[in-house]
Amino acid sequence: MTTAAGAAPRTLFDKIWAQHVVAEVPDGPSVLYVDLHLVHEVTSPQAFAELAARGVPVRRPDRTFAVMDHSIPTVKNPLAAADPSAAAQLRQLAANCEAHGITLWGAGDPRQGIVHVVGPEQGLTRPGMTIVCGDSHTATHGAFGALAFGIGTSQVGHVLATQCLLQRRPRTLAVEIEGGPGGALPAGVTAKDVILAVIARLGAGGGTGYVIEYRGSAVRALDMEARMTLCNMSIEAGARAGLVAPDDTTFDYLAGRAYAPTGTAFDRAVARWRTLATDDGAAFDHVIRLDAAALAPMVTWGTTPAQACAVDGAVPRPEDAGGDDAAAAARSLAYMRLEAGRPIAGQPVDVVFIGSCTNSRLGDLRAAARVLTGRKVAAGVRALVVPGSHEVKRAAEAEGLDRVFRDAGAEWREPGCSMCIAMNGDQIGPGQLAVSTSNRNFEGRQGKGGRTVLASPYTAAASAVAGTIADPRPYLEARP
């Protein structure tokens, strides 16, 4: 964007921030207005209890939307299948929403799904908004050029009561990602591989204190689902939020969605959204560059998402990491039972999970199906495909993807967070190794003692067929 004469060039973040500051506390944080508050069952009960204890109402139920996703079983009749504490939590959310007039897409609702899948697909998530949720992967919504970040339960209470948050202004980090001609990524390389490479570069805490703007030809060429995958994992580098400037790809995605403006209101909105992009010459506090044209599919080998390498590479040697990182790498390898210097491909796999707010949208399921069509999940491997929402599930079934998964021997489940966080009964066993399209490979994340390898839907599906961690590229040759 070029700026009006005389105005200092500003970043996308600067513009959104300025439009939402209600007040500045002297020598303190800003009071920031929240346009959209998304709520789920796990991080909200204590916040509603706080409001009740103070006798304070929800200020803007019309700006608050709730879903059931984290602890909901991914089977038909999930409420009947939930364990007693999960069932109580789900009932509590329903009661709180009822009492405060909050729209809830709960069990059985055709719009139910993972909060970060549902917001965009309903058209709630739009450029220029501030969006918060008691969930660290709220950064997903930044794909639309919205400032979106996760908050703790006390802050959920603050937003319920005042629609505002006390926030320190973060610093800005530009991540410039260049692809090949037209921004193209190499065959078999996806947004998931790109973000794993970015996190490996930044480190698990390298983005702390920053809001990232993803820029460059490779980002412009991504569709909205892939941009969501990219922004989703910003938190895994410690960044609060990730942003992509809105463009025609964004507007085309939003047109016709349930909550998006219509008619002339949509045209007015687009005109306004076009002004949000970072101005030419605007300064970021820090810039890093990544050559995506040189990337291979990525997998993690350790217990933080930053511990990642190319799928056709070798497990790194801790001593190459140096200093404290070497000790951490050695500990991670011991937990993962992987041997430094050996190829990461070929490691036996017990479970494959395709799902989560990172990779459970229609494009992700199509990618997995591209590999699985006409193939079988290897004997002894459990493969789970969990669509991100009922809308995704219906769309996938309409094009026959469910058949592809079932014919391959994979389970086709109902929507929810499922094995990403392992709260709903879907989990891996002690010592089992899962190749997972989710976003966290922390110790025990997918079940106590379980070992997680993060990967793209291509790589996960290829690993399911091979029965070992596998490079997906040979599986994609000669496929449409």
Binding site: V31, G152, R168, Y259, T262, A328, R440
Partner: protein, 208 residues
């Protein structure tokens, strides 16, 4: 709802020598199926309990109120349950070379002080507590300083490490100001902002 207060604390410390201690370790997800903040002490580091040498299992560490951990403590999830579990166990401060953003905010709101001290000081403090596990460690929020008796080095035998926390959060803890009460007091400014806000920023998309 009384707001938490914190001025200064001198207590015994526990060392957890690990980097990137994430919220799934601090409190595994299966303990999040609760609707209250009660009974979370037992969930703290549940999957690390029972491992040989895990410091919280050491009965000698009962009563410790300071946790000393490695860099990027509290990374991962936004779950405030992590701060609740730490305070439920009895911790009032965590000392590390650095903290994850969301955890730091969650902790401050619970009166759990995240004291980020320089790496060299951190190494010296770990060594000192390693030599004498009963060494009292002071976390002084007013002075924004961690102190411990270290014999040599400093003239008065006291080692000092500076930290800073957000000035507003610090005032809230020193004075017992409650953040939600503060925000509720901003009602007029919030209403004025709402009157001005662009309709395209409303979730209903201006289709109202």
């Amino acid at each position: 709802m009384t707001a938490p207060r914190f001025t200064s604390l001198t207590a015994r410390a526990v060392v957890l020598d690990a980097a990137d201690v994430d919220t799934d370790q601090i409190i595994p997800a299966r303990f999040l199926k609760t609707t209250t903040k009660d009974d979370l002490a037992g969930a703290l580091f549940a999957d690390w309990r029972g491992r040989p040498g895990f410091p919280l299992d050491d009965p000698g560490n009962a009563g410790a109120q300071v946790l000393i951990a490695g860099p990027n403590f509290g990374c991962g999830s936004s779950r405030e349950h992590a701060a609740w579990a730490l305070t439920a166990w009895g911790f009032r401060a965590v000392i590390a070379p650095g903290f994850a953003d969301i955890f730091r905010g969650n902790a401050l709101g619970q009166g759990l002080v995240p004291a980020a001290i320089p790496v060299d000081d951190h190494a010296r403090l770990m060594a000192a507590v390693g030599r004498d596990p009963a060494l009292p460690v002071t976390v002084d929020l007013d002075a924004q300083e961690v102190r411990w008796m270290c014999g040599g080095g400093a003239a008065d035998g006291v080692c000092r490490a500076a930290f800073t926390v957000d000035p507003f959060a610090r005032r809230c803890l020193l004075d017992g100001v409650d953040e939600l009460g503060f925000l509720l007091g901003m009602d007029r400014a919030i209403a004025a902002h709402e009157a001005d806000a662009d309709e395209a920023r409303h979730p209903s998309g201006g289709a109202r």
